[in-house]
């Protein structure tokens, strides 16, 4: 099914004001409803390699998986967990990407220990399946409500969850940017995967911590609320705000706007019609 009429995706990635390399990587495919963002880490330029591998492998594999089987179909094999095929696709392809990066890291000394954060979103059947690892985030703008959808896999978040720190105190912590999960650093990885309903006019933002660390959530929300009609301008504005505030890290954003509903074509006739879209 071709979703490019229903979904608009714009992405920007910038090295920021301080770093010489951009170790973030973004990729998107509106036709298949895919958005992928990765923030790499590792010595030398290994971060760039890790994040690049993550987006390339995942984009290719997910496009191919979607061509073989529609994301909305229920996955009867998943047993107790009655999840859609989209969730399984994410799990399987993330495992593949993890394996690729981990193997590369093992084989080359300069890539040793490299890894990356990850946020992947598959839009299908008026829903979105989101998988994330680390502290890159997905936010949703719906009307005037701006919400962080993913919960960081980071030391700070664990401290907040256990009551050691309030969210306000966390802003003053000197232990920022320590993630507790990453893609490619271990033989296996567990991504956190959830499904959400989408509505027309929703705007989804995938971003690396280069944005969320430099710009307050409130200002990000304000930008999406005022400039949501022009995703390109909104993306540029977000990157500019991060840089104006210091730009101390690579900053990447992917903005996805739901223009209209995109129900999956079910049944034989539905699928037949789907070929003509």
């Amino acid at each position: 099914m071709n979703l490019s009429d229903a979904i608009e995706i714009v992405g920007h990635s910038d090295p920021g004001m301080v770093r010489s390399h951009n170790e973030d990587s973004i990729a998107n495919d509106a036709r298949n409803g895919l958005a992928i963002l990765a923030d790499g880490m590792g010595g030398y330029n290994a971060g760039e390699v890790a994040s690049g591998m993550a987006t390339t492998v995942l984009m290719t594999e997910l496009q191919s998986a979607i061509a073989q089987r529609a994301p909305f179909e229920y996955d009867a094999d998943s047993g107790a967990e009655f999840r859609t095929h989209a969730a399984r696709m994410l799990r399987d392809q993330i495992a593949k990407a993890n394996h690729s990066i981990f193997s590369a890291a093992q084989s080359q000394p300069q890539y040793s220990g490299m890894g990356t954060t990850l946020v992947v979103a598959i839009f299908y059947d008026n829903k979105v399946s989101v998988a994330h690892i680390g502290d890159s985030r997905l936010y949703r703008q719906r009307g005037s409500e701006f919400v962080q959808v993913t919960r960081d896999h980071s030391l700070l978040q664990e401290q907040i969850d256990s009551g050691m720190l309030t969210a306000e105190e966390a802003k003053h912590s000197q232990n920022k940017n320590l993630v507790t999960r990453a893609l490619g650093i271990d033989p296996t990885v567990e991504a956190e995967i959830h499904d959400y309903e989408t509505r027309p006019d929703d705007i989804y933002l995938l971003c690396s911590d280069g944005l969320s660390d430099m710009v307050e959530d409130e200002e990000i929300g304000l930008t999406l609320e005022t400039l949501g009609g022009n995703l390109n301008l909104a993306a540029q504005q977000l990157v500019q705000m991060a840089n104006d505030n210091g730009g101390r890290d690579n900053v990447s954003v992917l903005l996805v706007r739901i223009r209209k509903e995109y129900p999956a074509a079910r049944g034989l006739f539905g699928r037949f019609l789907g070929w003509f879209k």
Partner: protein, 250 residues
């Protein structure tokens, strides 16, 4: 590396570096910081240090513990906080080592489960920080590098940068003629959605106007703008969706 300066009546007694995960304070000799005074309880308080953050906790002492004059039970220590136990003062110092580690600030690093090593004893050189990234074998070094890297940073989340002068818009025509709008937010939209919309952004370098939507572009001082952001100067006259307004600095 964080440290405490112990003093009484203005006289500096001792300097203590916070190397351990738990630094106990009290009158009894087993404490890491022993204060031999009756106003101080046997086990008075403890400072828990997690990499670069330190938390002070009162252990149910008789006379309590104050931070900057306020009694506390638990407190997330900020640089230059002054802790008081009886007549004794402990000043919490957490200076960022000046440096060249600026390039590594904000670098995301992996924290391995089960490894919470001590904070670095001294500012680590930049080369060490960038070379030893997270690997299973080097988890300790990695977290140490993380300490050095993150320690080079200011503590707070960056405040949104803003120009020194406050800008405003005064309407020169239309139903609300004479009305003034202060441009305090990072983004202020002007115009009519569906007809013509422009946005004024507030940046460190000043205010800028950018076209957002509509067939017509904003007109500034009689000239039609293009798609690029345009810097606004004091007393510029803007025309959007048929309404004229003046931008000025208060």
């Amino acid at each position: 590396m964080a440290k405490l300066i112990l003093s009484m009546d203005g006289l500096v007694l001792k300097e203590i570096t916070l190397t351990k995960e738990r630094t106990t304070i009290g009158r009894k000799p087993h404490n890491d910081i022993q204060i031999d005074n009756l106003a101080v309880s046997g086990e008075h308080a403890v400072i828990v240090t997690i990499l670069n953050d330190s938390f002070l906790e009162d252990l149910g002492s008789t006379n309590g513990t104050l931070v900057n004059g306020q009694p506390i039970k638990k407190h997330f220590l900020q640089p230059n906080d002054v802790i008081e136990l009886g007549k004794y003062k402990l000043k919490y110092i957490n200076e960022a080592p000046k440096a060249a580690a600026a390039a590594d600030f904000e670098k995301t690093m992996v924290l391995r489960p089960g490894t919470m090593p001590r904070p670095a004893p001294a500012p680590v050189q930049t080369s060490a920080a960038s070379a030893s990234m997270a690997t299973a074998a080097n988890a300790a070094t990695a977290a140490t590098a993380a300490t050095a890297a993150t320690a080079a940073a200011p503590a707070q989340a960056p405040a949104p940068a803003a120009p020194a002068r406050q800008g405003a818009i005064q309407l020169l025509s239309g139903a609300n003629v004479g009305k003034e709008l202060l441009l305090t937010k990072a983004l202020t939209t002007l115009g009519k959605p569906g007809v013509q919309v422009a946005v004024i952004t507030r940046r460190p370098q000043g205010y800028f106007i950018t076209h957002v939507e509509g067939a017509n572009f904003p007109v500034v001082n009689g000239k039609t703008l293009d798609a690029q952001a345009h810097p606004l100067n004091d007393h510029d006259v803007i025309e959007i969706a048929g309404t004229k307004m003046e931008f000025f600095y208060k």
